[in-house]
Symmetry: C2
Subunit: 373 residues, 2 copies
Amino acid sequence: MASIPGSVYSALAHRLATYEGEVYPLHIGDTWMEPAVGCRMQDLTVEEYPGMHRYSSPQGLRGLLEAIAERMTLRTGLETKADSVLVAAGATGALGAVAGAIVEPGAEVLILAPYWPLISGIVRSFHGTPVPVPIIGSVESAAAAVETLDDLLTERTVALYLNTPNNPTGRTLPAPWLEALTGWARSNELWILADEVYEDYLYTGEHTYTRPLAPERTFSVHSFSKALGMAGNRCGYVVGPPEVMHELRKVSTHTFYSTPTAAQLAALRALEGAGDRWIAEARERYRELGMMAAEKLRVPPPEGSTFLFLDVSSKLDERGLVGFLEDCVERGLFVAPGPSFGPYPHHIRVCFTSAEPEVVERGVEVLARVLYG
Amino acid sequence: MASIPGSVYSALAHRLATYEGEVYPLHIGDTWMEPAVGCRMQDLTVEEYPGMHRYSSPQGLRGLLEAIAERMTLRTGLETKADSVLVAAGATGALGAVAGAIVEPGAEVLILAPYWPLISGIVRSFHGTPVPVPIIGSVESAAAAVETLDDLLTERTVALYLNTPNNPTGRTLPAPWLEALTGWARSNELWILADEVYEDYLYTGEHTYTRPLAPERTFSVHSFSKALGMAGNRCGYVVGPPEVMHELRKVSTHTFYSTPTAAQLAALRALEGAGDRWIAEARERYRELGMMAAEKLRVPPPEGSTFLFLDVSSKLDERGLVGFLEDCVERGLFVAPGPSFGPYPHHIRVCFTSAEPEVVERGVEVLARVLYG
């Protein structure tokens, strides 16, 4: 998904060309499940929705905006109205709209690492500078996290990006950490970009929403892609302070115009009923897969998201991480290389939901053999 | 569609609130026709396309890229391969990817005016400066056009944008003009952005493609939205020099990630057969509507696109264009104000395909009465 894994794997393409066994695509962040019945493209007809292939409002369909606002109010306890919401081309489009609105050339965005690979390129696309801040798994306390941030703060810093539940680590940021981080952002007058696309996929405890902690400066980003198995539909949303949302709409209008109308109708149908059951089922299946993968790979189980992030430094030889990836590819196994997620030259990310469960299980077993013989 | 008409019309919303008659939405650039049977969302099933709601490649589906390359080769006579093509979130996403790739902060893009409203904001979104160049309908010869361009060229100029068949004027740029413009761009080492989304909608003569005239520097932009009545699907594409397309993919990946998978499948089905018949039928119906509208509005018939651009200066009173728009809105009629398209404070744009033909006809009659009593 990021350019780095792409280039690594194109260099390995020749090895795959002669490979004839089963392939395990654990490098992709996606699901094997089809979306809920009633929320698929085939369920959307021009008879029921005349004009559904035409332009719709750049902000989003009115009904969807209102359903999202209601859901956000319910989930976060913070009264949220439709004018705080922008429906966007996935979380990517949503974060692009935020970045385009707040990043002037040379502005710096602090990015808690390890991070979702695209955030770095999103900031760069609008001529900003992403500044990775290794925190998750690196520092032990919220106070230490704040100290690390203080060291990297400059007069060009405009925002702090965080992602919880976290892609790639499978960890979550505890509530006291979020309180410390948002308090620090407030005292330094920074925007907060809270990427919460895995909010529905926690395997222990409840998700803590960031926006209620600092509603005046937080853009929270959510996605039907991850929540409902609709990544190809390109539909997500961002919720933020109503008085600045028109700045985000300017950018979204000029980078993708509007979110696909059909994708919005599918999302609305999911919010209106069929989605919750699908999510509950997906969560149980994801949880089992996460437990299975963690056990076989001898790491702690994921707290959330659909990933495990493994330090494989003890298994690297003189060929480094690329050699490790080669050894995997020769067995049909693809994993995502650590450098896509920040300064992690000795890590790999594994997605435990990107293929049918039995394929994932066999892929994890292949990886376990590479790691532990 | 642009921010200017939006704000004009929100100021007029109170007048519409009490209006009870028929509404004529001739300000939107869209079609009343549903897409071809076989190319609608309801025709795309998970049984036929398993995984069709998942992520697809950021560049586009392989089959669609190849079908586009083949079509471009056939239409332009210039051998085009899939590595020259990026499928994007409509022409907006396509032009955003080009702008993001070539515009550094402060770079200037010359924009032949009148122009498609969003191009200005697209350039600004990536911190560039749009420089309108009034040409279409303003200068009489290709030589005069080049002279105007020469006057506006600076050391910060990086590209020239043109749109033919033209939104909003309904005119086309003749081949000798395109030769002169591309020659001028080449001698000044500029990129060329050729927005050709109305290539299928010419009512006289043949469309001249710009890319064969300067393939080393031209990005041509095309759209399934306009060609096939799929604006809500968000699927278009850009074709350019293969050696720079990876720069465009960086931007598209980081602003909308990929074009919706279902939209790409619908586009592919259209290219494989059902689309050509639909286009032929639409072209005939659009042609008749354009003739009808031009005759009633006492202007020359459109050469292409789905618009007429009218100078209404002789009909403006001390209230200016806003007053004119008010008079229209009081009769249920919406038209797009000239300033959205460049320095045209006394023009309006009318779309003659944005509603059912009989609604368009009645709307045009309302406008004719406003104009000519």
